[in-house]
């Protein structure tokens, strides 16, 4: 009984998003290239707050991933007998191994966080397969994730002491300080734009091909009698094949790369020597990161 509830928890948010999109899409003809639809506009003092399709869709994806996780882990037994328990164990083992291989033993508990970033990113990109707007095609969403990663990087950079970090900006010579500062800020910007640009370019190219094929079939097959002339027959097939690359491969690839860059940036940000020197002053045990 609980299983059916959890399956409904996976599917219903997506269905609700589709209904919401259908209700709010303005009447128009053909394929349109537009950003996220704005559902609600809340008046605020500085700037109006927009509740747009990307927020609603990303919350739907989160609820549905939560449902998926609860479904996979429902009714666990000490000895794996059900298929979903095997899948859940495989996912956990893979994510922990990935984190341990790339970040080292000190970050061994980061598996859930990295898996959450990867799953959210992948499912947000894949949601466009059911006709919804990908939240990752909106720069605000990816920038939010990138800023979160930026704070994590900064937290570990300051482990060696603020003065140590500040001195590092003026290396190798003080003239490099502005460039080092730009390099610090460039990390989240490039992470956000990489993810957003890949998904958005896929969406734009798909829309362009769709509209081009509609026009082509209108001019070639428009003379056919009756309803046959109105259906864009040439749009059958080709966009689906291209969608395998632009939507599926590109989306999953970017999710993996976002998670990978998160791991590498955070693990590379820790100043081990300075941190251990600080810990020695306070009589705390030394931290060793087992080989990454």
């Amino acid at each position: 009984m609980v299983d059916y509830g959890l399956i409904a928890m996976m599917i219903l948010p997506i269905l609700a998003c589709i209904v919401l999109k259908v209700l709010f899409t303005p009447a128009g003809e053909g394929v349109q290239i537009a950003g996220a639809l704005v559902y609600v506009e809340i008046p605020a003092p500085v700037m109006n707050l927009y509740i747009s399709e990307s927020q609603v869709n990303s919350w739907a994806v989160m609820i549905s991933i939560l449902g998926l996780c609860l479904y996979l882990t429902h009714g666990l037994t000490a000895k794996a007998v059900t298929r979903r328990q095997l899948i859940a164990e495989w996912l956990v083992e893979k994510s922990e191994k990935l984190v341990k291989d790339n970040m080292g033993g000190f970050f061994a508990e980061w598996g859930p966080f990295i898996a959450a970033i990867m799953g959210l990113s992948a499912f947000s990109s894949l949601i466009c397969l059911v006709g919804l707007f990908s939240p990752t095609g909106d720069v605000n969403v990816t920038f939010g994730w990138a800023i979160l990663v930026f704070f994590l990087i900064m937290f570990y950079k300051f482990r060696g002491g603020f003065w140590n970090y500040f001195k590092g900006l003026f290396k190798p010579i003080p003239v490099f300080a502005p460039m080092n500062l730009i390099g610090e800020i460039a990390t989240p910007v490039s992470m956000a734009f990489r993810h957003y640009g890949n998904i958005l370019s896929g969406a734009v190219i798909s829309a362009l091909i769709g509209s081009a094929l509609t026009g082509l079939s209108k001019s070639l097959l428009g003379a056919l009698p009756g309803i046959l002339g109105d259906i864009p027959l040439l749009r059958v097939g080709l966009p689906a094949v291209l969608s395998i690359y632009f939507d599926v491969f590109s989306g999953v690839m970017q999710a993996f790369i976002f998670a990978m860059l998160t791991m590498l940036n955070v693990a590379g940000a820790v100043p081990w020597d300075a941190w251990n020197a600080r810990r020695k002053k306070r009589n705390k045990p030394e931290i060793q990161n087992t080989a990454a």
């Binding site: 490039s190 734009f193 990489r194 957003y196 640009g197 890949n198 370019s201």
Partner: protein
Amino acid sequence: MLELAMGIMLGLLGLGAGCAMIAGIGPGIGEGNAVAKACEAIGRQPECKSDVTSTMIMGCAIAETTGLYGLIVAILLIFVAPGTFTGILKDAIK
């Protein structure tokens, strides 16, 4: 007057978007080099094919970033800039 100014503005925006996509050359050459080297490495040591492939795809996706910056600039020029500049033009020419 306004029509002429709008025409010039839209044409130049299109030209600018086209010029911005010259940025696609760099990643193309770079990724081609990366894949060529990966093929060489696999030819020399076929047993580490999976490692080389995953590293290569990762590197290619990172090398793509500069091209994507150009793409974002082009998309902004086509879809966002006309709306902004039309308002400025209408204010300037009254």
